[in-house]
């Protein structure tokens, strides 16, 4: 199929960016979206032009490295799908596709479609862990009884891959879904309860300091999240945060 692409090109963090039009031919319906961009880049390199820079790694939908705001939606029009798992059969011959980087103050553009998402790493470092002594006498986690419901909810929260689609799609560029998933996955388990109060306060403080917006519960993040992280986690974060003040 033939496609018209409108892609954000920006030479560097401080350079002025703009949308550039490209025509591409020979796109197969079984190609992934990233393979389509690979094809475009091969064409650009053959012509001696600068290829389009974009993030990717595993291309299996599990690493959280790919991003892209495609036709006005994070990770494109499909639900529960990362950009690398989006296939060109979702588009038609002759379609015009706009491709933009995640837009948020906390995610500055590095080049073209690549943004700096290290703000999420710093939030994680502020408390998204449990302090376990790994000296060799660590108690096996499976010896601690955990209600099935809590285990399931914690596991669901832990499937967050930290791609930043929640921030990209939120009208306030809020990172609440990401932060709440990281808070909830520990808050729901006995191992995480020990540091629960400090964790939620430190992670919310880090989130605010990184320049993300505040949550207005529009629910767009849950819809666009490729892993289906639930808004339930945001309610859990809010509850944990209020309870932490009482401690």
């Amino acid at each position: 199929m033939k496609l018209n692409l409108k892609i954000w090109r920006q030479a560097g963090p401080n350079a002025k960016g703009r949308m550039v039009n490209y025509k591409i031919d020979g796109v197969e319906s079984d190609m992934s979206f990233l393979e389509m961009l690979d094809l475009l880049n091969e064409n650009l390199i053959a012509k001696g032009e600068e290829p389009v820079a974009f993030d990717h790694d595993c291309r299996e939908g599990i690493c959280g490295m790919c991003s892209l705001y495609i036709n006005g939606e994070a990770h494109g029009p499909d639900r529960l799908t990362t950009t690398c798992q989006l296939h060109m059969r979702k588009f038609k011959d002759g379609d015009t596709i706009t491709i933009e980087p995640w837009r948020a103050k906390a995610f500055p553009v590095i080049k073209d479609l690549i943004v700096d998402r290290s703000a999420l790493d710093r939030i994680q470092q502020a408390g998204g862990y449990i302090s376990v002594n790994t000296s060799g006498r660590t108690v096996d986690a499976n010896t601690i009884p955990i209600p099935k419901k809590n285990a399931d909810m914690a596991f669901d929260a832990a499937t967050c891959i930290g791609c930043g689609a929640c921030v990209a799609t939120c009208k306030n560029a809020s990172a609440m879904l990401f932060v709440s998933a990281k808070v909830a996955q520990f808050a729901l388990l006995p191992q995480g309860r020990v540091e629960a109060a400090k964790r939620v306060q430190d992670m919310v403080a880090a989130m605010d300091a990184e320049g993300f917006g505040s949550c207005t519960n529009t629910g767009a993040c849950e819809v666009e999240c490729p892993k289906g992280i639930s808004l339930t986690n945001i309610a859990i974060l809010n509850k944990e945060f209020l309870l932490a003040q009482a401690e």
Binding site: R103, S214, T216, G219, T232, A235, L237, L242
Partner: protein, 210 residues
Amino acid sequence: MTFLKTSVAKKVAMAISGLFLVLFILLHLAINLTLIYPGKEAFDAAVEFMATNPFIQIMQPILALGFIFHIGMGIYLEWNNRSKRPVKYVNNNPGAASSLASRNMIWTGLFVFLFLIIHLLNYFVPFKTQDVPDHYALVTGLFKSPVYTLLYVMAFIALGMHLSHGFQSAFQSLGTPRQKCHKFLVCCGNVFAFLVAFGFSAIAIYFYFN
């Protein structure tokens, strides 16, 4: 104080002030309904109660503060949130993932605020500063103006939209267990939003034609 500076605490404050205003709207709707049933005498008695009851007198400045806080904080949060995306998307399709009401709380809120000012000037100021001989006539007389009635109906449609998102959103901000309560709260919010929009508007339209 560090607690109050966090984004989460500000949302909690919006939720509490919003739910407080919801209680006021319920009371106001109940009083307005007396205009139609049982009628003039009941409405005059309700006005008398609102003007003299000591509890209402204490609540009046608290209510005013509630309005000022909710509106002021809402404007601040919107302004602050807008600064979090300095470069906008060229192609954005927010309708694919969220409701119109949830994305436009600032506009429905500001429209209701604008109406509130007009409403205060038209009714509350004469109520407080003049010796109004007939409250029933003052209120029903306002609805003889097509412009005022139209503005009134539009304001309550905006308020209905505002409540359809705001009601359940407030409970989410307060951390109510979503899995147990969410569907119930969304249902309550939508029913309440409809009752407010329909109830106030229907009374206005009734008096416009009668």
